[in-house]
Symmetry: C2
Subunit: 450 residues, 2 copies
Amino acid sequence: MKNQTKAQLNQLLLALVQHDTRQVDDIYDDVQTIDLAEQIEELEDNQLEYLCSHIDDIKLAEILEESEEELQVDIINCLDNRRILALFNHIPKDTIVDILGQLPIGKTKQLISLMKAGEKKIIEQLLGYEEDTAGGIMTTEYIALNENLTIEESIKKIKQIAPKTEVIDTIFVLDQYKHLIGIADLRDILIGEDSTPLHTIMDTNIITVLPETDQEEVSLLVSKYDLTTIPVVNKNNSLIGIITVDDIIDVIVEEHTEDLLQLHGVHKEESLDSSLIDSIKMRLPWLVVNLGTAFLASFVVKMFEGTIEQIVALSATMTIVTGMGGNAGSQTLSILIRGIALGEITLKESLPGLKKEILVGAFNGLVTGFLTAVIVYFIYGNIYLGVIICLAMIGNLVISALFGYLIPLVLKSLNLDPAIASSIFLTTATDVLGFFIFLQLANMFLPYLL
Amino acid sequence: MKNQTKAQLNQLLLALVQHDTRQVDDIYDDVQTIDLAEQIEELEDNQLEYLCSHIDDIKLAEILEESEEELQVDIINCLDNRRILALFNHIPKDTIVDILGQLPIGKTKQLISLMKAGEKKIIEQLLGYEEDTAGGIMTTEYIALNENLTIEESIKKIKQIAPKTEVIDTIFVLDQYKHLIGIADLRDILIGEDSTPLHTIMDTNIITVLPETDQEEVSLLVSKYDLTTIPVVNKNNSLIGIITVDDIIDVIVEEHTEDLLQLHGVHKEESLDSSLIDSIKMRLPWLVVNLGTAFLASFVVKMFEGTIEQIVALSATMTIVTGMGGNAGSQTLSILIRGIALGEITLKESLPGLKKEILVGAFNGLVTGFLTAVIVYFIYGNIYLGVIICLAMIGNLVISALFGYLIPLVLKSLNLDPAIASSIFLTTATDVLGFFIFLQLANMFLPYLL
């Protein structure tokens, strides 16, 4: 597939050199633009410049739209302002805003100042919203019609607007004050009677979001209610944009990636493509923090060096207690992080769930602790060491349940990402307290262990 | 919101008791069906029965469609076969198949035997596909038209079929042998000239999947190419179904949840709602496996008890090496699992990335190892202990990079979920080898440490 697209890109360049427009069209129609964009990333600077200056506006606009951020900047740098604005005519407003966001501020201002008044206003408004809010991902290409239009008039309008809109199957219905009062399904419009007014076939029970709504919350609504588009309204209920499902999919993938990476102390921007230097820069700080917590645990062990000196078996067995605590806590942690991401739980409603987790921890601690005790007894021949390890295991698994459950909820209630640094807090708790409980018990029962 | 819907459900029941159809309609129009379904879950059995027997087919079909699996079964159990089949007329085929999949086999067979021949064939075919493949999530409610229809004829057909279809903005174009040869955008059809044949405005460059394609692969295609629907064709390129974007969102959320949970040894079916017993059943087996690996690490420490007995400081410092290895390895692991989930890497293309990870591990090991050495020197006043811990840290972070990188890739190449049990393999490696390297080095340099 990749090699095929690469060959097609070469053919495309050749056809451009030969000014064979028909051949260019044929090749272009045969590839997916996003695959083409991926191959264009590999071009030399002068090849990219040649491509940009010789391919027509519509094709280059499509390529620009489907490109990764880096290539978008490279393409923009190949073009003069007049051409950039010409391309923007073929690109949805939300993508234009994304592109402008990557350019130097001076360049962005320059481009905006050259736009027509109406477009300028929309773009400036969109640029004002935070990147990860509904306003930051919405677009303004939609069909909104007055409630009093008849079906016949509506269809006429739809035909006019349709080519310039991202969504066609949902028509937004406005009253005379431009308030959003309903949505009409294109199916119902197509089969409706010519003279029926639009408001009689619209659905008034609609889900909307405000521009400041967090994008994760928007994605939960779309996912829960199986929406293909969600309208964004201001406080007066005036329609100011829509969010399409393809952008929602991007949000979901992005948020999930962040959860998984941040949970394990990886910067959310890191990926397989990150350079060696970037990977080190992004991971080392977290490891240094971890080192601090590892020393905390180490100090706890050091406190009991006298005890360990007398019963060296403790040093081999203590790691079982802390290892199990970390693992059991990760189980709770991941259940919670998913629950929070899916909007299923908040700190306020957390008490019954916490009780359950603690019971799970206590029971699993009892079972694994008992197993450990039996094995330890066979190895070291000391029943008391077994009893101590079993008690420590129960204690540490209860602790792991408590921290695994509360850490993400507390982070969330502080408006932080529940995944971020969760596992560092958790393992600190289970290591420090796990070593402490076990070695303290050993210390108390020292005469029986000798 | 919840309380409001609860009140509305009570009003709805009251209106049903009073046979006030108009009031029933008004209340029903005012709620989102999925919110209503959530509240219906809380009803007593006799209330549910009353609701089912008194509400009309279309509404009950919608409720059934939006319900969680458990409620779907409860609703079906309230109805006789005739009524169930009546409801099925208003439900997409993919949802019918999902519902049938939860019923006892006898009941499913009975219902299928009562269906009309055409429907029976489709349902039996859909039931034949694995749940997590394209065939298992596709539906048969789409609009497919012959390439030679004119725009005028097409619009006429679309109006006829539209009310029964899930997707309307994409029209699938077939040749005379029913092969899928293109897709037409409803926008282009609406603005096309009456006499134009459909094939002249269709896009022939389409992305299709086979019914056996894994659902995760389908979701990657939808996400990459920003599709709102993807056609499923058989080996002869005949269209047999379509997958809609709302089902794709469900797949993405499901797969991400699985990744996060399985990575930490939680069964993919577990959630915050799981009962105490279920949670224990699902987590305990994994903890027992973990216990086995914890003992492995413990045995390694036991091997060196003689050394630890002479230098008890080793027992407090050895956990720093293993803890850091586990954390650094988790970083690599999560980057890899995301990369694999996003289709960015395979075992074959893994070598350059592996080199980078090992370099990151070595460098981060050097920095954190050096820091540790300095601190350990200040605490224990022994420079050799510091040197040993620094070397062990470098070694263990290289090991963690190696295992964190290769474990998910090897699992994936064995056709297993790359997340499953990844962290257990990883921590086993970093604990066992981390303890071994550090204590072995300590053993070798014993005279300098005393």
